[in-house]
């Protein structure tokens, strides 16, 4: 609530996950004065989310990958804090970024939880956005029932609380991320009734890992195969959940086999009963609204997500703005750390990445691209939708309303759909429904740029996170200049 400004930093880093920690450490170790802003109460991001250190001061990292990397980054992060070069602001979200005359970034902040904590305005000459992402969702009948969660939400729940949100789980969607979610559920004592993977690949990880020169992934694949065998987890490929069943909360799911286009194979439906938590993940949506608000150029990645363009120094198309991790394309934690180091170093002193680092990043990007192609969002995912299936959870907009606005009123992009039906106008501002609304609005149009334009409109969130009018009324008004 304060309008106090801190003295300007050399580098501000948004996010304290794998990319953000690496960027912060790289910049601080090059002598830059660094500030790190993160929504969580302790470092780690979603990937290395762990129990509160007040409760468990020295977590051993069970169920985590790359925990040694985390411990290394964390000790360097803490060292930089103790020498005063790094300033860490947890429980803080950036709601808007402006630019002052000299190009300096002005970060407007708000507490992530509570409304009474005072936060400063932060100014910095360089900015590294490592904002990460969240699970991408596709609507289906029953997905609004309590007990239905994002796959990553289940993962985060287990990592942060050490408990399970339910007893009997189905994990569904596509991509290798479903595997660690199921493994963590099983390790925490939950029953995984099934993992439903819409694409057809079986045992693909070892091959793909070797083929693309990322051997670590092959090890992970073997590890999951062993865990699945041990816990008797059924990994069903070419299978989707067609609806979630339940009255006041999820109690069962109907599953079905699909063909390569995602069309349901008639007669293959069956009910999985006695399920209390259903986790869905269709890849991830990078959080790029802040970079987009600064004018960063975007592209559609191999997974269909809108991501920001970055060069070999992790520089965006906006001078002074660097990007690392999922915001440049979903690729996992190892890639995020590598990009974070490069971004932090570039932001601190403009240095060129080492050839070996550049190669490592290229390898991982190729792997990520192969992974995305092996796990596409099924082309016919929307065939599951009934008229009354909710598309926008916040504003409770049904599929019938969306279809009518598209076909009768001409809402053929997400922006117009929002105007006509309120999709994406609620609390989450289209974070959950944005991808689906873009697909549904553009359905039937031949314009190749329609999806890019739609996803761009969805990524425009001038208020990146809600804040009180009281906070806005006490903004300092130096009239900073925007791009």
């Amino acid at each position: 609530m304060s309008k106090e400004s801190t003295s300007p930093f050399d580098v501000a880093v948004i996010g304290a996950g794998p990319a953000g920690l690496a960027a912060a450490v790289a910049a601080a170790e090059r002598g830059a004065r660094v500030v790190v802003l993160d929504a969580a109460t302790q470092p780690g991001g979603q990937f290395w989310r762990h129990r509160p250190e007040s409760v468990e001061p020295d977590p051993e990292g069970h169920g985590h990958h790359g925990w040694k990397t985390y411990l290394d980054l964390r000790s360097r992060f803490d060292a930089a804090i103790s020498t005063g070069v790094l300033h860490y602001l947890p429980n803080t979200q950036v709601w808007m970024i402006e630019r002052e005359d000299a190009g300096r970034f002005v970060l407007r902040l708000t507490p992530a939880t509570g409304t009474t904590i005072e936060v400063p305005t932060v100014r910095a000459d360089k900015l590294v956005s490592c904002a990460g992402g969240y699970d991408r969702q596709l609507p289906l009948p029953g997905w609004e029932l309590p007990g239905v969660m994002a796959a990553g939400g289940i993962q985060a729940f287990i990592k942060a609380n050490g408990t399970l949100p339910g007893k009997r789980f189905v994990v569904a969607g596509t991509g290798p991320f479903l595997l660690p979610v199921a493994a963590n559920i099983a390790a925490a004592g939950g029953k995984v009734v099934a993992v439903c993977e819409s694409s057809s690949l079986t045992n693909w990880l070892p091959h793909m890992g070797a083929a693309s020169g990322v051997p670590g992934k092959a090890l992970e694949g073997a590890e999951y195969a062993a865990i699945f065998a041990k816990h008797r987890i059924r990994y069903r490929t070419r299978t989707v959940v067609t609806k979630v069943v339940g009255d006041s909360s999820a109690t069962a799911v109907q599953i079905a086999k699909v063909d390569a286009s995602g069309a349901i194979i008639p007669g293959s439906e069956r009910l999985l009963e006695d399920v209390d938590i259903v986790g869905f993940g269709w890849g991830f949506t990078p959080q790029i609204e802040l970079a987009v608000s600064l004018g960063a150029e975007t592209r559609i990645d191999a997974d269909g997500s809108l991501v920001c363009v970055a060069d070999e120094k992790q520089s965006s198309t906006v001078p002074g703005l660097f990007l690392a991790g999922e915001v440049t394309g979903v690729g996992g934690a190892v890639l995020a750390v590598a990009e974070g180091y490069v971004a932090g170093a570039s932001a601190a002193n403009g240095e060129q990445p080492k050839t070996s680092t550049a190669r490592q990043i290229q390898r991982h990007r190729r792997f990520a691209s192969a992974m995305h192609q092996a796990h596409p969002v099924p082309e016919k995912w929307d065939e599951l939708l009934t008229d009354d299936t909710l598309i926008c959870r916040c504003e409770e907009v049904s599929h019938a309303q969306v279809t009518e606005a598209r076909d009768v009123l001409g809402a053929t992009d997400a922006r117009t759909m929002k105007s006509f039906t309120r999709t994406g106008m609620g609390w989450c501002q289209g974070k959950v429904c944005g991808y689906a609304v873009s697909c549904l609005s553009a359905k039937g149009t031949t314009d190749e740029n329609a999806q890019h334009a739609s996803l761009t409109s969805v990524a425009k969130r001038p208020v990146a996170t809600p804040l009180t009018l009281g906070e806005i009324s006490t903004l300092d008004s130096r009239e900073p200049h925007n791009l």
Partner: protein, 88 residues
Amino acid sequence: MSNPPQRITVNLNATPVQAEAGQSVGAVLMGQGIKAWRTTRNEGKPRGLFCGIGACYDCLITIDGEPNQRACMVQASDSMNIEGDFSA
């Protein structure tokens, strides 16, 4: 190296409930078997945790008198007052 869990007491609609320190409000509720704690504006449908990481705002709840707090983001603390529609 886990320490024995520290117990705290939170009030769910003024009913005291034991919980573990460091858990999110959402985890405390789910631990009590409560899966929904608000109803939607238009259709009155129950909602609880969904994205679990602060993006979706489905899990909003009143905490210590402050409405519309994200249950997945707020850590429970001793004598915290949590108010919601638990019949949802």
